[in-house]
């Protein structure tokens, strides 16, 4: 059998020829020259919203020559939290991942700082609100970029007709479409009287007192309106303070006018309450209204989203931002940062807001007056005040200003709503406070 031998001379000739070809050939940039990027985005409730985000990401990927793969991860059953926990444990997974509220702080050690891109986004889009600073920053380190997709305010969504009929309040006059609020009279006492009147009228306010986020967020905004915090910004226990006593007293008093089964409510209960036509007010982003628009248009046409009632220490509304974060073990950090900048451009943000029918809220102040909120209806202008365009209220999150890792425990364990339910069900104030103090002491442990 003929066997071709590779001589030294032949080897040298071949390698020289190959090297010459390689150097002399023209450079052709491949379709994915900038590498691969794996991202995990929040799986949106609103049909069609994911399609828009896919289109925006793909547009960027084509321009930047990056091979992107997107996973839409639902928050249903806390699948997104499980993904975050698993990837943090394995130190492997997506390059960029959408994290809700507390999670950037919880995984701070494993996140790539975004200090190089946040200043340019702030310069372009305006300042971010205080809650985003609180949740998205650790010292001087930006833990991620506030995401438009999934960020929401849980303000009141009121039945115009029922509130007028039973409580004599014209909510559209207090929060006119296209104009600044004239809501000085919309206070805690007005709210309490309205809650009582609507309860008597058979259409109670649909406020949950359960352990899920909708209930906790509402309780948190009420507590903050009284200046009540269980732990202060320094991490000191402040459970047994006058402010907490006032807030608890008020919340337990008003809770008696909520549906009797409110302690068992979850995040879907208030939505169903509004859509069924049995309630005069809930605290929610426009998802419940959007469902009503589809299933019960006559109810949707009577809904008006507006600001929170003001308490002795101001007017607070729950704001729950999502963040886009880059893992420190990401394989393609430059591409991830480039994508985050692209996703935060005004044109992209506008698309996200429109695709979500106004549900998603950007955290930058120059982007809270997009036309979607002004034009959505019926009734037209129902969402005008949803993104807080006039900074009429302070956007905050329950359990703040405690250090986020402690606040996360207070929030998750629903300590605030449990306090309200305990006191409402007859437990003496001091015993409720002692229970809460014991719980929070546990959260303070290192």
């Amino acid at each position: 059998m003929y066997k071709r031998e590779v001589t030294r001379r032949r080897f040298l000739a071949t390698t020289t020829a190959l090297t010459t070809v390689a150097i002399a050939a023209p450079y052709v940039r491949g379709a994915h020259a900038a590498g691969k990027l794996s991202i995990g985005l929040w799986d949106h409730w609103v049909p069609g919203a994911n399609t828009t985000s896919t289109a925006v990401v793909n547009e960027w990927a084509a321009k930047e020559k990056v091979d992107v793969s997107i996973d839409y991860i639902p928050s249903q059953g806390n699948k997104n939290l499980l993904t975050i926990a698993a990837e943090a444990q394995a130190k492997s997974g997506h390059d960029m991942l959408a994290m809700p509220t507390w999670w950037p702080h919880a995984q701070a050690d494993l996140l790539e700082p975004c200090n190089d891109i946040m200043p340019q986004l702030i310069a372009q889009n305006g300042q971010v609100n205080g809650t985003v600073q609180y949740l998205g920053k650790l010292g001087d380190k930006w833990l991620g970029v506030p995401a438009t997709i999934g960020s929401q305010i849980k303000g009141p969504c009121t039945r115009i007709d029922l509130l007028k009929q039973h409580a004599g309040i014209d909510i559209q006059a207090l929060y006119p479409a296209g104009a600044a609020p004239k809501a000085d009279s919309w206070t805690m006492e007005t709210y309490a009287k309205a809650a009582e009147a609507c309860h008597k009228g058979g259409v109670p306010f649909g406020i949950g007192l359960g352990e899920t986020t909708d209930s906790v967020d509402t309780a948190g905004a009420f507590f903050q309106a009284f200046g009540a915090a269980l732990v202060d910004a320094k991490g000191e226990l402040t459970v047994k303070s006058d402010a907490v006593r006032q807030a608890l007293d008020y919340c337990a008093r008003v809770a008696k006018f909520y549906p009797a089964d409110a302690p068992a409510w979850d995040d879907g209960s208030n939505n169903r309450w509004l859509v069924s036509g049995r309630g005069a007010l809930i605290m929610n982003p426009p998802s419940a209204w959007a469902v009503a628009k589809r299933d019960a248009p006559q109810i949707a046409a009577q809904c008006w989203t507006h600001g929170f009632p003001a308490g002795p220490k101001g007017r607070f509304a729950p704001f729950l931002p999502y963040f886009w974060n880059i893992w420190s073990f990401s394989q393609n950090k430059p591409a991830a940062k480039s994508l985050l900048v692209a996703l935060s451009q005004p044109a992209a943000v506008e698309k996200f807001v429109a695709a979500s029918a106004g549900y998603d809220i950007p955290s930058f102040e120059k982007l809270t007056t997009l036309k979607t909120w002004a034009e959505e209806g019926p009734p037209k202008g129902t969402l005008y005040h949803y993104p807080n365009p006039h900074n009429h209220q302070t956007l905050s999150i329950a359990a703040s200003p405690a250090p986020p890792k402690i606040a996360q425990q207070i929030y998750t364990q629903a300590t605030l709503t449990k306090m309200i339910v305990r006191h409402m069900q007859g437990e003496p104030m001091e015993r409720t406070l002692a229970w809460a103090e014991s719980e929070v002491e546990g959260f303070l442990r290192g």
Binding site: A85, E211, A264, D266, K405, Q409, T412, Q413, G442, G446
Partner: protein, 330 residues
């Protein structure tokens, strides 16, 4: 030639000897136990990867502090010898012992598991007898139908129960209102919420008992009943002196298996009440998830979930010891 012939004979006899007495390795590989081991090896590796490794990892996690950067040593343990106090990484367990909610979860888990298993066993036993007495022709149909609650994934069937128990739009309350009764706060009141989660667990788990007991009933020889009948035994005596002794091991093993599964239940409580109201329906698994995953305190969550191990181990030891004892007596 002679030499060659001799040498050839010698080689042949050596080969025969070699054939007659295989090498040690070959003998080892041909052993039934070795073959069995190799056949079971994939499963053993799977168990090591998916069960043993996570279990040890969970133990490791439970020894860490909340920050997961250092070990959670015990504190205030002067009652222990100095050599031990300060060197035991069970600070999380020690912390749990000081929590009111932890003891509530212990009590609720025991209440949930014991009451659910007792009712499942009782219902399973009764239904198994009914099905056993159905003529063979129609029995398969009934067996199939009765197994449905057990076959449907619990998370799905619990969703249906969630709607039936819905605080505001409960179908049960709607039905009760027809009799001027109710409304009952199925998941809003602690006692009713506990009742609800136990009821759903019984609904899901009773068919498993039924099918196990049915299999056991079918294996009881008819002659024993005939002998009992000749002796004049009534229905109750036949059950007490024939059926139950013959089913004791199956009853014990089924109860043990169900206790473990019920005690570690997650999906029913998670879907139906998420542990509320006021944590009054939390079990170990749901509370561990709340603390570890939702609350971001993975070490404490791991400690809570590990707490199931000693409790279940004690139950298993007692029940299995009883079975072994009876086996030896037989």
């Amino acid at each position: 030639m002679v030499d060659t012939a001799l040498s050839s004979n010698a080689t042949t006899s050596t080969r025969v000897r070699a054939k007659a007495r295989p090498s040690g390795l070959r003998k080892f590989l041909q052993r039934k136990s070795t073959i069995a081991f190799f056949m079971a090896l994939p499963l053993i590796l799977l168990i090591l990867t998916l069960v043993v490794y996570p279990a040890f990892y969970a133990i490791y996690l439970s020894t860490l502090r909340k920050s997961m950067t250092s070990v959670a040593w015990m504190r205030n343990c002067q009652w222990l010898p100095d050599a031990i106090c300060g060197y035991i990484p069970f600070g999380n367990i020690q912390f749990l012992f000081t929590r009111e909610t932890f003891w509530m979860v212990v009590w609720q888990s025991c209440l949930f598991a014991i009451s659910a298993v007792i009712f499942k066993a009782l219902i399973g036993f009764i239904v198994a007898h009914f099905v056993h007495n159905i003529p063979a022709k129609g029995q398969r149909k009934w067996r199939g139908m009765l197994l449905i609650p057990w076959v449907i994934p619990p998370a799905m069937s619990t969703l249906a129960w969630l709607w039936l128990f819905d605080p505001s739009y409960s179908a049960f309350n709607y039905a009760l209102s027809a009799f001027n009764a109710g409304p009952i706060p199925w998941t809003g009141n602690a006692n009713w919420a506990r009742f609800s989660v136990i009821l759903v667990n019984i609904w899901v788990g009773a068919p498993f008992f039924m099918i196990m007991y049915l299999a056991a009933l079918k294996s009881v020889p008819d002659q024993l009943y005939e002998a009992a009948a000749i002796d004049g035994a009534n229905w109750w005596q036949r059950i007490w002196y024939v059926t139950l002794p013959m089913m004791r091991n199956i009853i014990a093993i089924t109860a043990l298996f169900s206790t473990i599964v019920t005690f570690a239940n997650f999906d029913i409580v998670r879907v139906l009440t998420a542990g509320g109201p006021l944590d009054k329906t939390h079990l170990f698994a749901t509370w561990a998830f709340r603390i570890g995953i939702e609350g971001g305190d993975i070490p404490l969550g791991a400690s809570v979930s590990l707490f199931m191990v000693p409790i279940l181990a004690i139950a298993a030891i007692f029940i299995l010891r009883d079975i072994t004892k009876r086996g030896n007596e037989a």
